[in-house]
Amino acid sequence: MFRSLFSGVALLAVGAVCTAQAQTVTTPEQLLTEFSRCDAHFFESLRDARLPAGTLRLSDYGSVKAPSIMSPLQEGGTYQHFETPLIVNGVRMVGYYNQAETIKNVGNFLFWGFVADGSPQEVAAKLKPLIVDNARFVSQGKAITRAEIRRVGDPIGQWRTEGLTGPGVATPFGFVDRVLIVDTGDTTPPLAGHTTVFCSLQGTVTAPLLQVYRPDLNAHLLD
Protein backbone atom coordinates (compact mmCIF):
# COMPACT_ATOMS: atom_id res chain seq x y z
CA MET A 1 0.00 0.00 0.00
CA PHE A 2 2.80 2.33 0.97
CA ARG A 3 4.54 1.45 -2.24
CA SER A 4 1.50 2.32 -4.36
CA LEU A 5 1.02 5.56 -2.41
CA PHE A 6 4.67 6.42 -2.95
CA SER A 7 4.40 5.60 -6.66
CA GLY A 8 1.36 7.82 -6.94
CA VAL A 9 3.13 10.73 -5.28
CA ALA A 10 6.19 10.17 -7.47
CA LEU A 11 4.04 10.16 -10.60
CA LEU A 12 2.36 13.37 -9.51
CA ALA A 13 5.75 14.95 -8.93
CA VAL A 14 7.00 13.85 -12.35
CA GLY A 15 3.80 15.14 -13.89
CA ALA A 16 4.20 18.49 -12.19
CA VAL A 17 7.78 18.81 -13.44
CA CYS A 18 6.73 17.89 -16.97
CA THR A 19 3.90 20.41 -16.85
CA ALA A 20 6.32 23.12 -15.70
CA GLN A 21 8.73 22.29 -18.50
CA ALA A 22 6.03 22.12 -21.11
CA GLN A 23 4.48 25.46 -20.17
CA THR A 24 4.71 27.79 -23.14
CA VAL A 25 6.02 31.28 -22.56
CA THR A 26 3.27 33.67 -23.61
CA THR A 27 4.31 36.93 -21.93
CA PRO A 28 7.52 38.98 -21.93
CA GLU A 29 7.52 38.71 -18.12
CA GLN A 30 7.61 34.90 -18.29
CA LEU A 31 10.44 35.15 -20.79
CA LEU A 32 12.43 37.43 -18.50
CA THR A 33 12.00 34.92 -15.67
CA GLU A 34 13.39 32.16 -17.90
CA PHE A 35 16.23 34.44 -19.01
CA SER A 36 17.12 35.30 -15.41
CA ARG A 37 18.16 31.70 -14.72
CA CYS A 38 21.20 32.33 -16.97
CA ASP A 39 21.05 28.82 -18.37
CA ALA A 40 19.51 26.84 -21.22
CA HIS A 41 15.91 27.48 -20.09
CA PHE A 42 15.78 30.80 -21.93
CA PHE A 43 16.76 29.27 -25.26
CA GLU A 44 14.52 26.26 -24.75
CA SER A 45 11.55 28.48 -23.92
CA LEU A 46 12.09 30.55 -27.07
CA ARG A 47 11.47 27.40 -29.12
CA ASP A 48 7.71 27.65 -28.50
CA ALA A 49 7.34 31.16 -27.07
CA ARG A 50 4.46 33.34 -28.23
CA LEU A 51 5.72 36.92 -27.99
CA PRO A 52 4.46 40.28 -29.32
CA ALA A 53 5.02 40.72 -33.05
CA GLY A 54 7.97 42.80 -34.25
CA THR A 55 10.04 42.27 -31.11
CA LEU A 56 12.66 39.49 -31.04
CA ARG A 57 13.68 37.97 -34.38
CA LEU A 58 14.59 34.38 -33.70
CA SER A 59 16.75 31.79 -35.42
CA ASP A 60 17.04 28.05 -34.93
CA TYR A 61 20.23 26.86 -33.28
CA GLY A 62 20.14 23.08 -33.09
CA SER A 63 17.19 22.09 -30.94
CA VAL A 64 16.63 25.58 -29.50
CA LYS A 65 15.99 29.13 -30.67
CA ALA A 66 17.75 32.38 -29.86
CA PRO A 67 17.55 35.99 -30.99
CA SER A 68 19.34 36.25 -34.33
CA ILE A 69 22.69 37.97 -34.43
CA MET A 70 25.50 37.78 -36.96
CA SER A 71 28.16 36.25 -34.70
CA PRO A 72 29.00 36.42 -31.00
CA LEU A 73 32.69 36.58 -31.94
CA GLN A 74 32.47 39.35 -34.48
CA GLU A 75 32.65 42.98 -33.43
CA GLY A 76 29.62 44.74 -34.85
CA GLY A 77 27.80 41.44 -35.27
CA THR A 78 26.74 40.87 -31.70
CA TYR A 79 23.58 42.98 -31.52
CA GLN A 80 19.98 42.82 -32.69
CA HIS A 81 17.86 45.96 -32.48
CA PHE A 82 14.17 45.23 -31.95
CA GLU A 83 11.85 46.87 -34.46
CA THR A 84 9.28 47.12 -31.70
CA PRO A 85 10.54 47.25 -28.10
CA LEU A 86 9.68 44.31 -25.87
CA ILE A 87 7.96 45.72 -22.81
CA VAL A 88 8.75 43.72 -19.67
CA ASN A 89 6.93 44.88 -16.55
CA GLY A 90 7.17 48.42 -17.83
CA VAL A 91 10.82 48.20 -18.97
CA ARG A 92 11.47 48.91 -22.67
CA MET A 93 13.86 46.30 -24.03
CA VAL A 94 15.19 47.71 -27.29
CA GLY A 95 17.63 45.02 -28.34
CA TYR A 96 19.51 41.80 -27.65
CA TYR A 97 23.26 41.40 -27.28
CA ASN A 98 25.35 38.22 -27.46
CA GLN A 99 29.13 38.30 -27.22
CA ALA A 100 31.86 35.73 -26.61
CA GLU A 101 35.59 36.26 -26.36
CA THR A 102 38.79 34.83 -24.97
CA ILE A 103 41.28 36.98 -23.13
CA LYS A 104 44.67 35.35 -23.02
CA ASN A 105 45.77 34.23 -19.54
CA VAL A 106 42.49 35.44 -18.07
CA GLY A 107 39.80 33.17 -19.49
CA ASN A 108 36.68 33.05 -21.60
CA PHE A 109 33.91 35.60 -21.37
CA LEU A 110 30.32 35.30 -22.56
CA PHE A 111 27.69 38.00 -22.19
CA TRP A 112 24.14 37.73 -23.43
CA GLY A 113 20.89 39.52 -22.73
CA PHE A 114 18.73 42.55 -23.24
CA VAL A 115 19.47 46.20 -23.81
CA ALA A 116 16.97 48.41 -21.99
CA ASP A 117 15.94 52.02 -21.68
CA GLY A 118 16.14 53.65 -18.24
CA SER A 119 18.66 53.78 -15.43
CA PRO A 120 20.07 50.56 -13.95
CA GLN A 121 18.26 51.22 -10.65
CA GLU A 122 14.88 51.78 -12.34
CA VAL A 123 15.29 48.76 -14.60
CA ALA A 124 16.43 46.50 -11.76
CA ALA A 125 13.59 47.58 -9.49
CA LYS A 126 10.97 46.78 -12.13
CA LEU A 127 12.52 43.47 -13.11
CA LYS A 128 13.38 42.21 -9.61
CA PRO A 129 10.00 40.54 -8.95
CA LEU A 130 10.47 38.50 -12.12
CA ILE A 131 14.00 37.35 -11.35
CA VAL A 132 14.67 33.86 -10.07
CA ASP A 133 16.37 33.77 -6.64
CA ASN A 134 15.96 37.53 -6.39
CA ALA A 135 16.90 37.67 -2.70
CA ARG A 136 20.49 37.50 -3.95
CA PHE A 137 19.93 40.14 -6.63
CA VAL A 138 21.58 43.06 -4.84
CA SER A 139 23.38 46.33 -5.46
CA GLN A 140 27.11 46.12 -5.96
CA GLY A 141 28.47 49.56 -6.64
CA LYS A 142 26.43 51.10 -9.44
CA ALA A 143 25.29 47.72 -10.73
CA ILE A 144 22.72 45.28 -9.42
CA THR A 145 23.91 41.67 -9.56
CA ARG A 146 23.19 38.10 -8.64
CA ALA A 147 26.51 36.25 -8.63
CA GLU A 148 27.55 32.63 -8.15
CA ILE A 149 30.61 30.54 -8.79
CA ARG A 150 31.34 26.94 -9.76
CA ARG A 151 34.55 25.00 -9.43
CA VAL A 152 35.50 22.64 -12.25
CA GLY A 153 34.49 19.17 -11.11
CA ASP A 154 31.46 20.32 -9.11
CA PRO A 155 28.18 18.80 -10.34
CA ILE A 156 27.42 20.60 -13.59
CA GLY A 157 24.22 22.21 -12.30
CA GLN A 158 25.60 23.21 -8.92
CA TRP A 159 26.66 26.78 -8.19
CA ARG A 160 28.20 28.10 -5.00
CA THR A 161 26.94 31.32 -3.45
CA GLU A 162 29.82 31.60 -0.96
CA GLY A 163 33.44 32.48 -1.71
CA LEU A 164 32.54 34.67 -4.69
CA THR A 165 35.22 36.37 -6.74
CA GLY A 166 33.92 39.92 -6.35
CA PRO A 167 33.78 42.75 -8.88
CA GLY A 168 36.96 43.70 -10.71
CA VAL A 169 38.74 40.48 -9.73
CA ALA A 170 39.64 37.91 -12.38
CA THR A 171 38.01 34.53 -11.96
CA PRO A 172 40.69 32.09 -10.70
CA PHE A 173 41.73 29.33 -13.08
CA GLY A 174 39.52 26.27 -12.59
CA PHE A 175 36.45 28.31 -11.67
CA VAL A 176 33.52 29.82 -13.58
CA ASP A 177 31.64 32.91 -12.42
CA ARG A 178 28.02 33.28 -13.45
CA VAL A 179 26.47 36.68 -12.96
CA LEU A 180 23.13 38.24 -13.77
CA ILE A 181 23.93 41.93 -13.94
CA VAL A 182 21.95 45.09 -14.59
CA ASP A 183 24.41 47.86 -15.35
CA THR A 184 25.08 50.98 -17.36
CA GLY A 185 25.83 50.10 -20.98
CA ASP A 186 29.22 50.53 -22.58
CA THR A 187 30.24 54.00 -23.70
CA THR A 188 30.15 52.98 -27.35
CA PRO A 189 27.17 52.09 -29.57
CA PRO A 190 24.96 50.11 -29.51
CA LEU A 191 25.04 49.96 -25.72
CA ALA A 192 25.84 53.61 -25.01
CA GLY A 193 23.07 55.46 -23.25
CA HIS A 194 21.27 52.25 -22.33
CA THR A 195 21.13 49.83 -19.45
CA THR A 196 22.21 46.24 -20.01
CA VAL A 197 20.41 43.26 -18.49
CA PHE A 198 23.00 40.57 -19.07
CA CYS A 199 23.90 37.10 -18.01
CA SER A 200 27.59 36.29 -18.05
CA LEU A 201 29.81 33.25 -17.80
CA GLN A 202 33.44 34.05 -17.11
CA GLY A 203 36.61 32.14 -16.36
CA THR A 204 37.35 28.51 -17.17
CA VAL A 205 34.40 28.15 -19.52
CA THR A 206 34.77 24.89 -21.44
CA ALA A 207 32.86 23.22 -24.26
CA PRO A 208 31.25 20.62 -21.95
CA LEU A 209 29.87 23.46 -19.83
CA LEU A 210 28.62 25.45 -22.83
CA GLN A 211 26.82 22.40 -24.18
CA VAL A 212 24.66 22.53 -21.06
CA TYR A 213 24.25 26.27 -20.52
CA ARG A 214 24.38 27.72 -24.04
CA PRO A 215 22.76 25.26 -26.44
CA ASP A 216 22.35 28.13 -28.91
CA LEU A 217 26.13 28.28 -29.45
CA ASN A 218 28.67 26.06 -31.08
CA ALA A 219 30.21 24.77 -27.85
CA HIS A 220 33.67 24.88 -29.41
CA LEU A 221 33.55 28.51 -30.49
CA LEU A 222 36.22 29.47 -27.94
CA ASP A 223 38.44 26.37 -28.25
Binding site: V152, G153, F173, G174, P208
Partner: protein
Protein backbone atom coordinates in the same frame (compact mmCIF):
# COMPACT_ATOMS: atom_id res chain seq x y z
CA UNK B 1 56.87 9.53 -10.45
CA UNK B 2 59.56 11.16 -12.56
CA UNK B 3 60.52 13.55 -9.76
CA UNK B 4 61.18 10.62 -7.47
CA UNK B 5 63.82 9.03 -9.68
CA UNK B 6 66.68 11.45 -8.87
CA UNK B 7 66.07 10.78 -5.16
CA UNK B 8 66.00 7.06 -5.83
CA UNK B 9 69.25 7.19 -7.74
CA UNK B 10 70.97 9.22 -5.01
CA UNK B 11 69.72 6.84 -2.33
CA UNK B 12 70.76 3.89 -4.41
CA UNK B 13 74.29 5.22 -4.77
CA UNK B 14 74.60 6.02 -1.05
CA UNK B 15 73.14 2.71 0.02
CA UNK B 16 75.25 0.74 -2.43
CA UNK B 17 78.34 2.50 -1.09
CA UNK B 18 77.38 1.73 2.53
CA UNK B 19 76.50 -1.84 1.71
CA UNK B 20 79.97 -2.38 0.33
CA UNK B 21 81.49 -1.73 3.74
CA UNK B 22 82.43 -4.65 5.98
CA UNK B 23 80.03 -3.72 8.78
CA UNK B 24 77.17 -6.31 8.97
CA UNK B 25 74.66 -3.70 10.08
CA UNK B 26 75.46 -1.56 7.13
CA UNK B 27 75.50 -4.60 4.92
CA UNK B 28 71.79 -4.91 5.61
CA UNK B 29 71.38 -1.72 3.65
CA UNK B 30 72.17 -3.80 0.58
CA UNK B 31 68.53 -4.86 0.63
CA UNK B 32 67.45 -1.25 0.27
CA UNK B 33 69.82 -0.68 -2.63
CA UNK B 34 68.60 -3.91 -4.19
CA UNK B 35 65.02 -2.71 -3.96
CA UNK B 36 65.83 0.39 -5.98
CA UNK B 37 67.79 -1.65 -8.52
CA UNK B 38 64.91 -4.12 -8.85
CA UNK B 39 62.51 -1.24 -9.35
CA UNK B 40 64.63 0.15 -12.17
CA UNK B 41 64.73 -3.33 -13.69
CA UNK B 42 60.93 -3.58 -13.31
CA UNK B 43 61.31 -6.78 -11.30
CA UNK B 44 58.37 -6.08 -9.01
CA UNK B 45 58.33 -9.29 -6.91
CA UNK B 46 61.97 -8.63 -6.05
CA UNK B 47 61.12 -5.00 -5.22
CA UNK B 48 58.66 -6.23 -2.61
CA UNK B 49 61.01 -8.86 -1.20
CA UNK B 50 64.02 -6.58 -0.89
CA UNK B 51 61.88 -3.71 0.36
CA UNK B 52 60.52 -5.85 3.19
CA UNK B 53 64.04 -6.98 4.16
CA UNK B 54 65.29 -3.41 3.99
CA UNK B 55 62.59 -2.27 6.41
CA UNK B 56 63.00 -5.28 8.74
CA UNK B 57 66.77 -5.22 9.06
CA UNK B 58 67.43 -1.52 9.30
CA UNK B 59 66.37 1.44 11.39
CA UNK B 60 65.94 4.01 8.70
CA UNK B 61 65.06 7.69 8.98
CA UNK B 62 61.39 8.43 8.27
CA UNK B 63 62.11 10.04 4.91
CA UNK B 64 63.91 6.93 3.66
CA UNK B 65 61.22 4.61 5.03
CA UNK B 66 58.68 6.73 3.18
CA UNK B 67 60.62 6.25 -0.03
CA UNK B 68 60.85 2.47 0.46
CA UNK B 69 57.08 2.25 0.99
CA UNK B 70 56.47 4.45 -2.07
CA UNK B 71 58.52 2.09 -4.21
CA UNK B 72 56.62 -0.86 -2.68
CA UNK B 73 53.34 0.85 -3.59
CA UNK B 74 54.42 1.27 -7.21
CA UNK B 75 55.44 -2.38 -7.34
CA UNK B 76 52.08 -3.52 -5.94
CA UNK B 77 50.33 -1.32 -8.51
CA UNK B 78 52.32 -2.82 -11.34
CA UNK B 79 51.48 -6.29 -10.05
CA UNK B 80 47.81 -5.21 -9.89
CA UNK B 81 47.67 -5.82 -6.13
CA UNK B 82 45.71 -2.63 -5.65
CA UNK B 83 44.61 -2.78 -1.98
CA UNK B 84 48.21 -3.52 -0.98
CA UNK B 85 49.36 -0.63 -3.15
CA UNK B 86 46.99 1.71 -1.32
CA UNK B 87 48.21 0.50 2.08
CA UNK B 88 51.88 0.93 1.16
CA UNK B 89 51.26 4.36 -0.34
CA UNK B 90 49.40 5.51 2.74
CA UNK B 91 52.28 4.33 4.97
CA UNK B 92 54.68 6.21 2.74
CA UNK B 93 52.61 9.38 3.00
CA UNK B 94 52.26 9.12 6.79
CA UNK B 95 56.06 9.10 7.03
CA UNK B 96 56.54 12.10 4.76
CA UNK B 97 57.90 15.17 6.48
CA UNK B 98 55.52 17.54 4.67
CA UNK B 99 52.38 16.89 2.61
CA UNK B 100 53.07 16.08 -1.01
CA UNK B 101 50.22 17.00 -3.38
CA UNK B 102 51.61 14.68 -6.06
CA UNK B 103 51.50 11.78 -3.62
CA UNK B 104 47.81 12.53 -3.09
CA UNK B 105 47.26 12.27 -6.85
CA UNK B 106 49.19 8.97 -6.97
CA UNK B 107 47.08 7.65 -4.10
CA UNK B 108 43.94 8.80 -5.90
CA UNK B 109 44.96 6.70 -8.90
CA UNK B 110 45.55 3.70 -6.63
CA UNK B 111 42.12 4.08 -5.05
CA UNK B 112 40.59 4.17 -8.54
CA UNK B 113 42.44 1.00 -9.42
CA UNK B 114 41.23 -0.53 -6.16
CA UNK B 115 37.62 0.25 -7.16
CA UNK B 116 37.01 3.18 -4.81
CA UNK B 117 36.49 6.23 -7.05
CA UNK B 118 34.69 8.14 -4.30
CA UNK B 119 37.82 8.15 -2.16
CA UNK B 120 39.88 8.90 -5.28
CA UNK B 121 37.77 12.00 -5.92
CA UNK B 122 38.03 13.13 -2.30
CA UNK B 123 41.82 13.06 -2.49
CA UNK B 124 41.92 15.32 -5.56
CA UNK B 125 39.32 17.59 -4.00
CA UNK B 126 41.44 17.78 -0.85
CA UNK B 127 44.26 19.24 -2.94
CA UNK B 128 41.85 21.67 -4.63
CA UNK B 129 40.24 22.71 -1.34
CA UNK B 130 43.60 23.42 0.22
CA UNK B 131 45.26 25.16 -2.72
CA UNK B 132 47.76 22.33 -3.02
CA UNK B 133 48.95 22.55 -6.62
CA UNK B 134 51.27 19.92 -8.02
CA UNK B 135 54.34 21.94 -7.12
CA UNK B 136 53.15 22.86 -3.63
CA UNK B 137 50.72 25.10 -1.83
CA UNK B 138 49.67 28.11 -3.89
CA UNK B 139 51.50 26.95 -7.00
CA UNK B 140 48.33 26.64 -9.08
CA UNK B 141 46.69 23.63 -10.67
CA UNK B 142 47.74 22.03 -13.91
CA UNK B 143 47.13 18.97 -16.02
CA UNK B 144 47.93 16.30 -13.39
CA UNK B 145 45.30 17.58 -10.97
CA UNK B 146 42.58 17.94 -13.63
CA UNK B 147 43.50 14.64 -15.27
CA UNK B 148 43.12 12.73 -12.00
CA UNK B 149 39.98 14.71 -11.21
CA UNK B 150 38.52 13.72 -14.58
CA UNK B 151 39.42 10.07 -14.18
CA UNK B 152 37.80 9.87 -10.74
CA UNK B 153 34.66 11.58 -12.08
CA UNK B 154 34.59 9.19 -15.04
CA UNK B 155 34.72 6.20 -12.70
CA UNK B 156 31.84 7.74 -10.76
CA UNK B 157 29.79 8.06 -13.96
CA UNK B 158 29.88 11.89 -13.89
CA UNK B 159 30.87 12.13 -17.52
CA UNK B 160 29.92 15.77 -18.17
CA UNK B 161 31.98 16.94 -15.20
CA UNK B 162 34.81 14.61 -16.25
CA UNK B 163 34.87 16.09 -19.77
CA UNK B 164 34.99 19.54 -18.22
CA UNK B 165 37.93 18.56 -16.00
CA UNK B 166 39.91 17.17 -18.95
CA UNK B 167 39.14 20.30 -20.98
CA UNK B 168 40.45 22.42 -18.12
CA UNK B 169 43.65 20.40 -17.96
CA UNK B 170 44.06 20.75 -21.72
CA UNK B 171 43.93 24.53 -21.35
CA UNK B 172 47.12 24.14 -19.31
CA UNK B 173 48.78 21.43 -21.41
CA UNK B 174 47.31 21.02 -24.87
CA UNK B 175 49.72 18.28 -25.94
CA UNK B 176 48.87 15.69 -23.30
CA UNK B 177 47.52 12.89 -25.49
CA UNK B 178 45.94 10.85 -22.70
CA UNK B 179 43.65 13.69 -21.69
CA UNK B 180 42.18 13.64 -25.22
CA UNK B 181 41.66 9.89 -24.95
CA UNK B 182 40.04 10.21 -21.51
CA UNK B 183 37.80 13.06 -22.67
CA UNK B 184 36.87 10.99 -25.71
CA UNK B 185 35.73 8.24 -23.36
CA UNK B 186 33.64 10.74 -21.38
CA UNK B 187 32.04 12.11 -24.57
CA UNK B 188 31.45 8.54 -25.73
CA UNK B 189 29.48 7.85 -22.55
CA UNK B 190 27.52 11.08 -23.08
CA UNK B 191 26.54 9.86 -26.55
CA UNK B 192 28.43 12.74 -28.14
CA UNK B 193 30.12 10.75 -30.89
CA UNK B 194 31.34 13.75 -32.89
CA UNK B 195 33.34 15.18 -30.01
CA UNK B 196 34.50 11.70 -28.98
CA UNK B 197 35.76 11.01 -32.47
CA UNK B 198 37.60 14.34 -32.66
CA UNK B 199 39.35 13.56 -29.38
CA UNK B 200 40.25 9.99 -30.34
CA UNK B 201 41.63 11.29 -33.63
CA UNK B 202 43.78 13.87 -31.86
CA UNK B 203 44.98 11.20 -29.42
CA UNK B 204 45.97 8.87 -32.26
CA UNK B 205 48.01 11.64 -33.86
CA UNK B 206 50.05 12.74 -30.85
CA UNK B 207 50.29 9.78 -28.48
CA UNK B 208 53.55 7.93 -27.89
CA UNK B 209 52.58 4.62 -29.48
CA UNK B 210 54.77 2.69 -27.05
CA UNK B 211 52.10 3.08 -24.37
CA UNK B 212 49.01 2.36 -26.47
CA UNK B 213 47.42 -0.94 -25.49
CA UNK B 214 44.89 -3.21 -27.14
CA UNK B 215 41.95 -1.73 -25.23
CA UNK B 216 42.82 1.74 -26.57
CA UNK B 217 43.17 0.45 -30.13
CA UNK B 218 39.82 -1.32 -29.80
CA UNK B 219 38.11 1.92 -28.74
CA UNK B 220 39.67 3.79 -31.66
CA UNK B 221 38.56 1.02 -34.00
CA UNK B 222 34.96 1.57 -32.86
CA UNK B 223 35.35 5.02 -34.39
CA UNK B 224 37.14 3.68 -37.46
CA UNK B 225 40.39 5.30 -36.39
CA UNK B 226 43.62 3.42 -36.83
CA UNK B 227 46.97 4.40 -35.40
CA UNK B 228 49.12 6.11 -38.04
Amino acid sequence: MTTRWPALIVCSVILTGCAGMQNPQKANLAHCANQFKASRAENYPLVLQEGDLCLQKNTLPASLQSLIYAVQADAYSNLKHFPEAVTAKEKSMQLEVKPDPRANLDLSAMYRDAGNPKKALELVQYNLDNGMGEAGKGSGFHMPTYYHLGLALTDLGQYREAAEAFSTGLQRQADYAWAYYARGIAYDHLGDRDDAKADFMKFSQIVNKKYVQEEHKAKLAEYKISMP
